[in-house]
Amino acid sequence: MILTSISALIVILIIIPYCVGLLPISFVSPRLRTVTTTYIFGFIMSLGIFELISVPVTITKADGFSLIVALFLGVESAAAMIGLIVYNFVVYKIEPGRDGEGKEKKRSSLMHRIRRGEKKERKKKKIDENVVLWTLVILCILFQIVMYVFMQSFDGDDAYYVVQSVLTEETGTLYRIKPYTGLSMSMDLRHALASVPVWIAFLGRVSGIHPTIIAHSVIGIFLIPLLYMVYYNYATALFGKDTKRKAAFMLFVCFMYVFGNVSIYTQATFMLTRTWQGKAMLANLILISIGWIMLVLFKRDEDSDERTLGFWIVMFFMSIAAAMCSTASVFLVALMIAIYGITISVCRKDIQVALKLMITCVPLVAYGAMYILI
């Protein structure tokens, strides 16, 4: 039973999202294609797909949870298959030469470095420092995962969000029962627009694990490393292949999280004390990912010929995933994208940046309109 549950979670939270991520990653330059980027892309797209399925079903069908589970599994599997096919087609059929070129370049640069005859001692010291730093980073991340699993924190909002997940999984109904007491109510559309509790219930259904256990003891095991993958990508965008500086950056980030509980409002506090709530996913996974994508997209010269279409596709899904985390987040994320768009446009004297970013906000505008009308 436990093995089946673990296998189901690995398939749903790791393997399928990775395959989904192969779709957008096919449309970026080979230099930007990494395992972590692919997985982050896939995870965010999967969240977006879930939101796109969940909200219409919630509105139209009171007991539609089973339908959401079936539809999402079908669409997600199809997206994963498409990802695999497109990736293989693009990488092995369209651009084999380009990839081969890259490998050759890598090989020759390595030979060049070896030929330069760097002193063995110095190299050893560098490796040692690297190993120590990365070991510290991994230990720090593991520490946070262990604390997530073995420590409990009280948060009053769980009486709504976690109970909503349990209700959804146990009764199959969607936002028609009052979580606090169990009495019937008319559809709570304001909360229904943000479907993270339904997603937790979905994970509970496919794994056979109680949704409260999923929220409090399981989902963080995936979300905490995912967050640090985003930061790792941030580090790669900032420091390139300088692994030593990347490790130092990651260690500082880890320390800022572990010691970031300066108030109940910070991103770190949300991440480590209410990891499973949509608000925590918004504050960390979504907003940090947007910052990273902005860095990748705009830390290049305007005339760079690198392909970045995949990042734009993910930005579009990011808007939908943001709406999934918290209904009010649509304003926050739209504001963030607007600030980046306008500032970069002004600095570059190029209105196109703002216009392109505006397109990624279309889902946010639709959700914002629904939110205001409700």
Binding site: E129, V149, F150, M151, Q152, S153, F154, D155, G156, D158, A159, Y160, L167, E170, T171, I177, K178, P179, Y180, T181, G182, L183, T212, I213, H216, S217, Y231, L238, R245, A248, F249, L251, F252, V253, F255, M256, Y257, V258, F259, G260, N261, V262, S263, I264, T266, Q267, A268, L272, G291, F298, K299, F331, L332, L335, M336, I339, T343, I344, C347, I372
Partner: protein, 266 residues
Amino acid sequence: MTEIVEIFKAYNGTGYFCLLFIAALIYLWFKEEDRHLRVLLVIVPTVIQILFFIPYFYMAYNMLDEGTYYRILWLLPMTVVISYSAVKVIGNHFALGVAVGCLIMVLSGSFAYTGMTYSRAENAYHLPEEVIELCDMVRPEEDDERIFVAFPPELVHFVRQYTTDIMLPFGRDSMVSSWKRVDNPLFDLYMSHEMAADKLAEYSTEYWCDYVILAGNDVLVGDPSDFGLEEYGRVGEYTVYKNLASHLWHEYDNDSGIINANFREE
């Protein structure tokens, strides 16, 4: 403006990360040579920070979502800016620099896993073990209809995270004083901690409770068994009473209509 400053202070709390962030911004403003990074890591955060302190912006935000203005500060890439500038500052003095940097972060922040709300998990649900035992004691059999149970207010957050087969006569919505709540005499009785047994029996019957659970510090005035509350079991300091007047044990007299009237208000 005062309110905004208060929100800013509350967000930064007991730590000094905001000072580190401002120092990092100033450092990068002068030292960052990459013009793209200057825009993304210096100018954009500065714009967000300025926007945060504009009163008209605060008013506009409150019209959309009141009480969450601090979330604007989530848009600041504080962690990235501080960490990036720290890596730049340490330069080639690597081992020492990293150690000092980490020490500064420890001293500037506050450890995440301390405080009143943190404790060792008692089970995989991360719920108090007593709640689980109480729920298991009173929950209906599979396929039986759901039941109402009155729990002490301090436990209502947890009960339905474990099982939704148990419904509550009052929940967290009664607990938060700032929320608009419906009058609930049973909740008021629980909050008084000194309960007349006759009132407890009367209200719990009105709210259709099949069981009533009292905490150790609740003082019961009168003999509960005189009013149809029979002791059913104990878990730790909590005592479970079976409400013999409940429909679960007797045919429910629907003529009174009291219960429906109470719940209809909600």
